[in-house]
C-alpha cells in the first residue's frame, strides 16, 4: 500500500493570473510529483497541492521565491489516513 508519510497539502492563494500560470507549471515538473487537488482556476479560488515529502522543500522554495502566499492545509497526510483506517476498523468490529 502506498504510504504518504510526511506528505503535505498546501493551500495556495494566487494573487494574480501570472502566479496562477506559475502554479499550473508546477504540475508539469514531473520530478516534483505534485498532485493538484484543486487546480489553479482563478485568483479568487484557493489552489490545494498535495506535495510528496521529498519535494516539500523545493515546492515551498518555489512558492516563496515567487512571492506566492500559502499555508499548510494538511500537515501529514499519512496521519489522517491512519485515523481513517482506524475508524473503519473500529466500525467493522462494532
Amino acid at each position: 500500500q502506498k504510504l504518504f508519510v510526511g506528505d503535505q497539502v498546501l493551500r495556495v492563494t494566487a494573487k494574480n493570473e501570472e502566479q496562477l500560470t506559475l502554479l499550473r507549471g508546477l504540475e508539469g515538473m514531473e520530478h516534483l510529483q505534485v498532485d493538484l487537488w484543486r487546480s489553479p482556476a482563478k485568483a479568487s479560488l484557493p489552489v490545494d497541492i498535495h506535495v510528496p515529502f521529498h519535494s516539500l522543500q523545493s515546492v515551498k522554495a518555489f512558492l516563496e521565491y515567487n512571492d506566492i502566499p500559502y499555508s499548510i492545509m494538511l500537515e501529514d497526510l499519512q496521519l489522517l489516513l491512519d485515523q481513517e483506517q482506524e475508524e473503519m476498523k473500529r466500525s467493522r468490529m462494532l
Binding site: Q1, L36, H50, L74, E87
Partner: protein
C-alpha cells in the same frame, strides 16, 4: 444477518461491503428498489445501479452518480445514505412519495469500482479508472474527461500520466460507455446529477465552452434554489454557475454530454470540505454532508416533477 439498519452510515466502507449492502437494501424493499447491472469495469467488476420505481413503464427518470473519481470517498458514502433515505422515506414522507409516484430514480453509488477498490487496497489517492494506456507506463483515464462533449479539447490532458487524461477516444472507458448506453437506451432521463467532492460548488453546463446553454437561466435559477435549501441546514456555503465560468475549462465532462443529449437538468455537485481536509473528510461529516445534500437533491427532484418537458 444482512440488515441495512445495522449498517454504519457514518463510516467509510469497502466495495464488497457496499455491494453486500446494496443486496440487503433490495431484499428489504423489493417493491421499490431493484439492482440493475449496466456493465462491467476494465478489471471486470460489475457496475450496479439501484433503481427506485413505484411502477409504470419507462417513466421520466432522474439519474444520480457518485464516486466517478474514486478518491472522493464522501461521495460514495453520501450515495449510500441517500439510497437508504429514499427507501425509508417512500410512503412516509409526502414530498418524496409524490416524486416517486411520478418519476423513477437511478442511483449509481460506485461509478468507478476499479478505482475505488484501488483506493482501498493500494493508493488512497487514486482518482482515475484502472485501464492500461497503450505506449505508456501510466495507468488510468479521468472518466470525467472521457465523454463525447468537447472531447480532447484544451480543458483535458493528452498525457496519460496526468490526472485529467481524457483517454484514447470518447467513451473508451467501459465505466463511461456503460452509462452512455444505459441513458441512451432509456431515453427518458430528465435530470442527471453527478456528485463529486470537494470545494462546495453546484455546476452546470457548459464546461467545454464559454457559450451559455440555451437553458442557462432555468439551470441557474434552480441551482440557486437548491443551494438555498442546502445551506439552510448547517450553513454550508456553496457557489454555483457554469463549470467554465465558475472554475475552469473542462472538456469531455459527464454533465455536458448529458445536456447535449437532451437531459436538461444536468448538474455536478462538489460536496463539502468545511474543515480543510480535502479528500480525507472525517467520517463524522458523512451524515451532515449527506443530509444537506439531500435537501438540494429534493429541490431538483421537485422541479423535475413539476416542469415536464
Amino acid at each position: 444477518v444482512r440488515n441495512t439498519n445495522s449498517f454504519s452510515y457514518s463510516t467509510y466502507h469497502t466495495l464488497d461491503e457496499i455491494y453486500n449492502w446494496i443486496d440487503s437494501l433490495v431484499a428489504e424493499h423489493p417493491d421499490l428498489v431493484s439492482k440493475i447491472q449496466i456493465g462491467h469495469t476494465y478489471e471486470n467488476r460489475p457496475i450496479y445501479v439501484l433503481k427506485f420505481s413505484t411502477g409504470g413503464s419507462n417513466r421520466p427518470a432522474i439519474w444520480i452518480d457518485t464516486g466517478i473519481h474514486s478518491r472522493e470517498w464522501i461521495t460514495q458514502a453520501t450515495g449510500i445514505w441517500t439510497a437508504k433515505k429514499i427507501a425509508s422515506d417512500y410512503g412516509k414522507e409526502s414530498t418524496l412519495t409524490s416524486i416517486l409516484n411520478n418519476l423513477d430514480i437511478f442511483l449509481l453509488i460506485v461509478t468507478n469500482p476499479d478505482g475505488f477498490a484501488y483506493t482501498h487496497s493500494t493508493n488512497r489517492m487514486w482518482r482515475k479508472t484502472r485501464s492500461i494506456n497503450a505506449g505508456s507506463a501510466c495507468v488510468g483515464v479521468d472518466p470525467n474527461r472521457n465523454w463525447d462533449a468537447g472531447f480532447g479539447g484544451p480543458g483535458a490532458s493528452k498525457n496519460p500520466c496526468s490526472e485529467t487524461y481524457h483517454g484514447a477516444y470518447p467513451h473508451s472507458e467501459s465505466e463511461v460507455k456503460a452509462i452512455v448506453d444505459f441513458l441512451l437506451s432509456h431515453g427518458n432521463v430528465k435530470s442527471l446529477l453527478s456528485i463529486h467532492s470537494y470545494s462546495q460548488m453546484l455546476l452546470f453546463p457548459y464546461g467545454y465552452t464559454n457559450n451559455l446553454a440555451p437553458d442557462h437561466e432555468a439551470l441557474n435559477n434552480l441551482a440557486r434554489e437548491a443551494l438555498s435549501a442546502l445551506t439552510s441546514l448547517h450553513g454550508t456555503k456553496y457557489t454555483y454557475g457554469t463549470t467554465f465560468a465558475t472554475i475552469y475549462q473542462a472538456d469531455g465532462t459527464t454533465i455536458d454530454w448529458a445536456y447535449n443529449n437532451g437531459i436538461k437538468y444536468s448538474y455536478t455537485f462538489e460536496l463539502r470540505d468545511t474543515g480543510r481536509y480535502g479528500f480525507i473528510l472525517p467520517a463524522n461529516q458523512i451524515i451532515p454532508t449527506a443530509e444537506e445534500t439531500w435537501l438540494a437533491l429534493v429541490k431538483i427532484f421537485e422541479h423535475v416533477r413539476d416542469n415536464p418537458y
